[in-house]
């Protein structure tokens, strides 16, 4: 549907359905506003005081009316609630096979990193027609990644990852805004999402200045920081091997089992004492302050790639 002048472009797969709900809500608003306004106007004229001695009879109330105007609004909001929640749930999980892009927000710019190593500032090139999942974090304060044309928005927090996904349906350049006040140049923390035809995107990707993918950069960080000295690949080191770990369940000393996802791995690197792997001594020191967000993202990308390699055979249990 053509954009109306007071409507942002619909450039993603969910934009139309969000707009449909928005228009329904607008219709409800207009209807009830018109209803109340017109009834009041009518009463104002019909029942205006005609003589100073008028004494209208009292009307206490009407139970049927109260029920009517309680039940009907409740039904209407129930419809809106179900509609809005369903849409929200459906949009909350990225489809399988989404390509991933990493975003770091910082005062007052957006740093974008593609897995292939391409880096951008305040701009994000994406291909048309493919679902894109963003994994985002902040280096300082809370920001918010907002693309009106895609109808997506998510806060970007320091110290943790948040994510959103979209699939672009139109080629073009679309506004990217920071939508959570973050200090002096909050208004300047804007950029563009550049949606390209798939082949054009591939060409753009190949033309990148760094030949290094995130995975490759991450391997470098892994080696240079000394991780292999404990996290030996064959599992005989002081720390667990990281082969075949990403995305799989991990048993903790507390007895709990968690999935080794981005957030867990990040926590292991920054706050290793919190959720230790069962069967290992508490020897790992924290790397808080030693790695930038970018390096963290890259290391985690490397460990993610290791997840595809089968793990070494389990070693004998070490007395904790």
């Amino acid at each position: 549907m053509q954009s109306l002048p007071f409507q942002p472009e619909q450039a993603s797969t969910i934009a139309k359905s969000v707009d449909q709900l928005y228009f329904f809500l607008t219709a409800v608003t207009l209807f009830f506003t018109a209803l109340i306004f017109s009834i009041i106007f009518y009463f104002m004229i019909r029942y205006r005081r005609r003589s100073p001695d008028e004494r209208p009879k009292a009307i206490e109330g009407s139970f049927p009316l109260e029920v009517l105007w309680t039940v009907i609004p409740t039904l209407i909001v129930a419809v809106i609630f179900v509609w809005g929640s369903t849409l929200y749930f459906r949009n909350s999980e990225p489809p399988r096979g989404s390509m991933e892009i990493f975003v770091t927000g910082k005062q007052w710019m957006w740093k974008v990193e593609h897995p292939e190593g391409q880096r951008e500032i305040n701009e994000m090139h994406v291909p048309l027609g493919r679902p894109v999942k963003l994994t985002m974090t902040s280096e300082d304060v809370i920001h918010d990644f907002f693309v009106p044309a895609f109808r997506v928005k998510k806060d970007v927090l320091p110290g943790r990852y948040t994510s959103l996904w979209f699939q672009a349906t139109k080629v073009g350049t679309f506004h990217l805004f920071c939508a959570q006040y973050c200090g002096a140049f909050h208004a300047g923390m804007i950029g563009s999402i550049v949606v390209q035809e798939p082949d054009e995107y591939e060409r753009w990707l190949a033309g990148g200045t760094t030949g290094e993918s995130m995975e490759q950069a991450g391997e470098k960080v892994f080696q240079q920081t000394g991780c292999p000295s404990c996290h030996m690949a064959d599992g005989t080191g002081l720390g667990p091997s990281l082969l075949g770990v990403y995305g799989h369940p991990v048993k903790l000393t507390s007895g709990e089992t968690v999935t080794a996802d981005d957030a867990y791995l990040r926590e292991c690197i920054l706050q290793p004492a919190l959720r230790r792997v069962f069967g290992y001594k508490p020897l790992m020191t924290s790397f808080q302050g030693q790695l930038t967000e970018e390096q963290l993202n890259n290391v985690i990308a490397y460990i993610r790639a290791l997840g595809n390699t089968p793990p070494p055979p389990p070693k004998q249990e070490v007395k904790p």
Partner: protein, 544 residues
């Protein structure tokens, strides 16, 4: 009603009343008379309204140009922060309770004063102290965190007067708490003989529900600001992830108070409307008990919805679901009230003095503002609209279109009682119309701006948003004129307005049985109540 006489109207009230009972600044600054304290508050909240309004004027001038027309971005950020802090904590929250509530609650329950008159005076001094801290923070460099003080920006990164303003708001919170405490005890323990709960005017029910929220919610804000100030000063890490803290904890604590706070701001205005409509339709309110229960329901449900401010923070989608559902539910009692007010007009005898115009304006604008809340309670649309001008428009429709109009309506309704003077109705009606038009011109374009994607708190913006911004600023000019006019004629009336009779509107309620203005002790003898509230019908009215 007054009959035409050939004698010249007396220029001043000759009988003793609370205004002429004593003179001199000491009799005012050390008063324990709830009516004088109400006037002290009235002057103070007007002062803060002018300050907060001036910031708004500067902001709207600045936003006429995409690159910003007036100030540097850092200054703009301080303007919107202080506009919010001053308007919310120093105008909206005290306005109706501390001005009209303080004046009317003892009169309406048929008592000589509130339960704790000295606490009442203390509450005003606390308010002023908090206000001074906040003014200091504005002068000593300002605050640029937004009135929401989100961490870690406010706790770790901002180098503005965060601690000073946190202290200022912390102190002022106690003013709120003491006012609420006073009202609760007064309404429970000091009702005149015969004044049962369900004979009370709805304004008292509104004050009671508001006081419950004040008493339960404000202390949580106090502890939140306390933790924020400590964090800002000592960098311990409660809210800072680098030290193991959680920035979202701040948001949960903050909104736990600040959402119920919006009901502190709107319930009193609803109470005012519930008094004005029956009087000027000359008819008992439709659905009295339903409105009572709706007020209490809003107060209770209002504590359960704070998470709807955090739908896009990455919180669990199931938490989002629960908060969304509850947010829809809290809308229902408000809708019920709107229908009951409208039904009160049916077969009434309606006259259009200024208070009624404000009350009708309230119903229209509150309806619009409330309905736009549905967009925000709905998860899928809130994702798009959160953090944009849609939110700004929504809350201004409720706070300005609703609460401020309610306050102005109440001031115009009870002005003769408070001051013993009448104001010129023609000017008042004109001002009400200008406010209504100016308000819509200012804030309606902002709904569209928000949907188009313009985020809030932007000191400069893409050029495509300029037309709507200019429209909004033009509206703000009209709105400003609309607010200036009452300031002038109300002040004029205190000296030159015709003297008011005890009951110029022919209203029911114990306050109208006293002289205008009332004597210091309110009632020579404590009245005995034998009628239901809003006894306007011929078979009920004891006669005029």
């Amino acid at each position: 009603m007054s009959t035409a006489t050939l004698e010249p109207q007396p220029r001043v009230h000759t009988q003793r009343n609370y205004l002429n009972a004593d003179y001199g600044w000491k009799s005012w600054l050390f008063t324990v008379d709830h009516k004088r304290i109400a006037l002290l508050y009235m002057i103070s909240v007007t002062f803060f309204f002018i300050i907060g309004g001036s910031f708004a004027v500067l902001m709207r001038i600045h936003l006429t140009e995409p690159q910003g027309a007036l100030v540097q971005p850092e200054t703009y950020n301080k303007l919107f922060t202080l506009h919010g802090v001053v308007m919310i904590f120093f105008f909206l929250i005290p306005s109706i309770p501390a001005v009209l509530g303080n004046f009317l609650v003892p009169l309406m329950v048929g008592a000589r004063d509130l339960a704790f008159p000295k606490l009442n005076l203390l509450s005003w001094y606390i308010y002023i102290t908090g206000g001074l801290f906040t003014l200091y923070s504005a002068i000593a460099g300002g605050v640029d965190t937004g009135w929401t003080f989100y961490t870690p920006y406010s706790s770790t990164y901002s180098n503005t007067q965060v601690t000073a303003v946190a202290i200022g708001v912390f102190i002022t919170g106690f003013s709120s708490i003491l006012t609420g405490l006073n009202f609760i005890v007064t309404i429970h323990k000091m009702r005149a003989p015969g004044l049962t709960w369900f004979r009370m005017p709805l304004f008292l029910w509104a004050m009671y529900a508001t006081s419950i929220i004040m008493v339960l919610g404000t202390p949580v804000l106090a502890i939140t600001l306390f933790l924020l100030a400590l964090e800002h000063l000592f960098h311990v890490g409660i809210f800072s992830p680098a030290l193991g803290g959680d920035p979202l904890l701040f948001q949960h604590l903050f909104w736990f108070y600040s959402h119920p706070a919006v009901y502190i701001m709107i319930l009193p205005a609803m109470g005012v409307v519930s008094e004005i409509i029956p009087c000027f339709a000359r008819k008992r309110i439709f659905g009295y008990k339903v409105i009572c229960f709706s007020s209490v329901a809003i107060a209770v449900l209002g504590f359960l919805v704070w998470g709807h401010h955090m739908f896009v923070t990455g919180q669990s989608i199931y938490a989002g679901l629960i908060f969304s559902l509850l947010s829809f539910l809290v809308a229902i009692p408000s809708a019920i009230k709107v229908f009951n007010w409208t039904a009160t007009l049916y077969k009434g005898s309606i006259s259009y003095e200024a208070p009624m115009l404000y009350a009708l304006g309230f119903i229209g604008l509150f309806t619009m503002g409330g309905l736009t809340g549905l967009f925000l309670a709905s998860l899928a649309t809130d994702v798009h609209l959160n953090g944009t001008y849609f939110i700004v428009a929504h809350f201004h429709y409720i706070m300005v279109g609703g609460a401020v109009m309610g306050y102005l309506g109440g001031i115009h309704f009870w002005w003769p009682k408070i001051t013993g003077r009448m104001y010129p109705n023609a000017w008042a009606a004109l001002a009400a119309a200008i406010v209504f038009v100016g308000f819509n011109l200012t804030f309606f374009p902002q709904f569209i701006l928000g949907y188009l994607g313009m985020p809030r708190r932007y000191a400069f913006y893409p050029a495509e948003f300029q037309v709507l911004n200019v429209m909004s600023s033009a509206g703000a000019t009209v709105l400003g004129v609309g607010y200036l006019i009452p300031l002038i004629y109300l002040m004029w009336s205190m000296r030159y307005g015709p003297l008011a009779e005890p009951n110029p509107w022919g209203a029911t309620g114990l306050e109208w049985t006293t002289s205008s203005p009332p004597p210091t002790e309110n009632f020579a003898e404590i009245p005995v109540v034998t009628q239901e509230a809003y006894a306007y019908a011929p078979e009920e009215a004891a006669g005029d």
